[in-house]
């Protein structure tokens, strides 16, 4: 079964067409990247798959569940990390993880989710401090922990390392990789080409609401006779 199947997806904001009939598939257990500049439509595509936005036309299924009809079922198996996500500032990190975990299980399952969240966030004693006192890197680690602790079948990560320093970005990538090893499928967006090369098995290049190329990193580099994916992207856009 495909983790995600997007067919001819169109999304309009009023008169503005943000997605112009994009199609792609994500296989179970892989890391798939949507790559493109700001405003290309990456976030819109991820938001549609994350059940946040309505579909103008086309179809989207997640592990066989059709959107928007089965949005409730989809929400049970996905975890979405928005690009500029935040956490409730008056809660401690621990309270925040508790709040989220309660939606996904109770008893032993709840304890296991929390344990995993604590491991991923790796905030030590600071987990008991209010989120308001966290640095940007700490908050992002907490949020990645929140997103991946529930063992989602599909993790939708929008610019997962956005705004992080090299050390924190590397740590987040390590966490994503270990989640994939544990069986999570990852659909991420990024405009960080290095990150894409390091994380993704397959990518789709998106520009102006359209997918202009897709394949593995090596396939795209070969196709556009490029030394790296950034060069391939520039050539594809031209």
């Amino acid at each position: 079964m495909k983790a995600v199947e997007v067919r001819e997806l169109v999304k309009d904001y009023g008169n503005l067409r943000a997605l112009k009939g994009i199609s792609f598939e994500v296989s179970e257990g892989e890391v798939f990247g949507l790559i493109g500049p700001n405003g290309a439509g990456k976030t819109t595509a991820l938001r549609v798959i994350a059940t946040l936005l309505q579909i103008t036309s086309g179809s989207v299924t997640v592990f066989g569940y059709e959107l928007p009809k089965e949005a409730g079922e989809v929400r049970k198996i996905i975890s979405y990390l928005p690009e500029e996500a935040g956490a409730y500032k008056n809660l401690t990190g621990m309270e925040y993880l508790n709040f989220i975990a309660k939606f996904f299980g109770d008893g032993e399952k709840f304890q296991n989710i929390i344990q995993k969240g604590l491991e991923i966030a790796n905030l030590g004693k600071r987990i008991n401090d209010k989120v308001d006192t966290y640095s940007k890197g700490m908050t992002r680690r907490l949020l990645v922990g929140r997103a991946l602790m529930v063992n989602p079948k599909l993790a939708i990560l929008d610019e997962p390392t956005s705004g992080l320093d090299v050390i924190n970005a590397q740590e987040v990538r390590r966490i994503i990789n270990s989640s994939v090893e544990a069986g999570t499928t990852v659909l991420l967006s990024s405009h960080n080409m290095l990150e894409v090369e390091l994380l993704c098995q397959r990518i789709a290049l998106i520009n102006d609401g359209q997918i202009i190329a897709s394949g593995t990193v090596e396939e795209l580099k070969r196709e556009y006779d490029a030394r790296n994916i950034e060069e391939a992207f520039v050539k594809a856009v031209r």
Binding site: L16, A18, N38, A40, L52, L53, G72, K89
Partner: protein, 422 residues
């Protein structure tokens, strides 16, 4: 330099979202003021009365002359029942009955008795203006009789000269016959019993409403909304959870406020009057109805606030969205304080009924007067209003609206920037 900063601050602060709620409040208050009417105009109007003069003596003639000059007399006869009927039909204030031995008693150094049958229309502050004008006329009658007494006999009993008449009063108010109390006393009594609820409702709605609208603003400002909306929980549960949380915060805050306010109000309580003696006391089922009315009004207010909150882009913009709620709560509070529901103009009656917060404000007074239809009707209306508002809120939560308020422009800007980079 200062001018430059001032200009920037002005442009930053003086936005449409800042201006619009204030303009709406100004228009609403202006309209309500026009509808209620001018107090000054009401004061200029002569009170409408009926007179039954059974005495036809010297002093009753004086009283008649003062009353006919200062009031619009629509009944001047000898039948008390018929007179009362005429005054009622003529929307009058009272029927004054001067008994047979009125002048004789005064000559015998006894105060002459005037029987006043008040027709009380409402218990609001402005409802007692007409009866206040008649009170003034009765004072004038006393003065004229005093003058006459002094002219006739300068050695007249000073206590009689000071108070040449006494009165027995009966107030008819919404089917109740209240012996020994004038409309102003009845009005004050009802007001002192029911004023706490409107103020409590207003505070509760404003405090709980502010909480829920701010919560929506904070969700957007702190970028937590998207995460919340992708959790495996029904949208209706999110809406209801937010409402209950805000209601709890509002109740705690309003409770603290009301402890102080109740202490303050208790100093104005009329302890020597027992409401039960006049058939105005509330029983347990009445208090239960007030509580239900209060509860559904709170839910209605919060459901309205959550719909408004979906328009909040940030905590700051959420604060301006509280203004319409505050305005509605204040319209309800002031209208129900100044006028009775039955005595306000029809258009204002519709507005007041349509504002869900009005119902608990009016409930206590209405129940004292056995107006169950208004209270139960209000509860039913408010419940329907709440269900509709929650449905609207859930619909908004299910739509793109929460996330795409300004996306169109942002997407357009992003594309423009990419175009330039290329």
């Amino acid at each position: 330099m200062i001018g430059n900063i001032t200009k920037k601050e002005f442009k930053e602060l003086f936005t449409l979202s800042t201006l619009l709620p204030i303009v709406v409040i100004a228009i609403v208050f202006g309209s309500v003021g026009n509808v209620i009417g001018n107090v000054g105009e009401t004061l200029k109007e002569k009170p409408v009365i009926g007179i039954v003069d059974m005495d036809s003596g010297d002093f009753s003639d004086i009283a008649m002359s003062v009353l006919t000059e200062g009031a619009k007399v629509i009944y001047d006869g000898s039948d008390t029942e018929g007179g009362l009927e005429e005054v009622r039909k003529g929307n009058g204030v009272a029927l004054l009955v001067i008994p047979e031995n009125f002048s004789q008693n005064i000559y015998a150094n006894q105060p002459g008795e005037i029987e006043i049958y008040w027709i009380m229309k409402g218990a609001g502050m402005m409802d007692s203006i007409s009866s206040g004008a008649l009170e003034g006329l009765i004072q004038a009658v006393n003065q004229e009789i005093s003058k006459e007494l002094i002219q006739q006999d300068s050695s007249a009993d000073p206590s009689l000269v000071m108070s040449p008449t006494k009165r027995t009063e009966t107030t008819f108010f919404k089917g109740k016959e209240i012996q020994g109390l004038s409309p102003s006393v009845v009005g004050n009594m009802l007001m002192s019993q029911s004023i706490v609820i409107p103020i409590m409702v207003m505070m509760l709605i404003i405090l709980a409403g502010t909480s829920v609208i701010s919560s929506m603003g904070l969700e957007k400002e702190n970028k937590t909304l998207e995460t919340l909306l992708t959790l495996p929980v029904r949208r209706s549960n999110i809406v209801i959870g937010k409402m209950i949380g805000s209601a709890l915060v509002g109740m705690i805050l309003a409770g603290i406020y009301m402890i102080g306010f109740s202490r303050y109000m208790s100093s104005f309580q009329m302890r020597d009057i027992n409401l039960a003696d006049f058939g105005l006391a509330l029983g347990m089922p009445d208090y239960l109805l007030v509580a239900v009315s209060l509860f559904v009004a709170l839910l209605a207010g919060l459901s309205l606030c959550i719909v408004l909150g979906t328009f909040a882009k940030s905590y700051k913009s959420a604060q301006t969205l509280v203004f319409p709620i505050t305005a509605l709560a204040m319209i309800s509070m002031f209208t129900t304080m100044f006028k009775d529901f039955d005595t306000i103009p029809a258009i204002l009656r519709i507005i007041v009924f349509a504002i869900p917060f009005s119902h608990p404000m009016m409930a206590m007074r209405a129940l004292m007067l056995d107006n169950y239809a208004l209270v139960i009707g209000g509860i039913a209306y408010t419940a329907v209003f709440t269900v509709i508002m929650v449905a609207v809120a859930v619909r908004i939560f299910n739509s793109d609206r929460l996330l795409t308020g300004g996306v169109q422009r942002r997407v357009a800007r992003g594309r423009l920037a990419w175009g330039f980079r290329r």
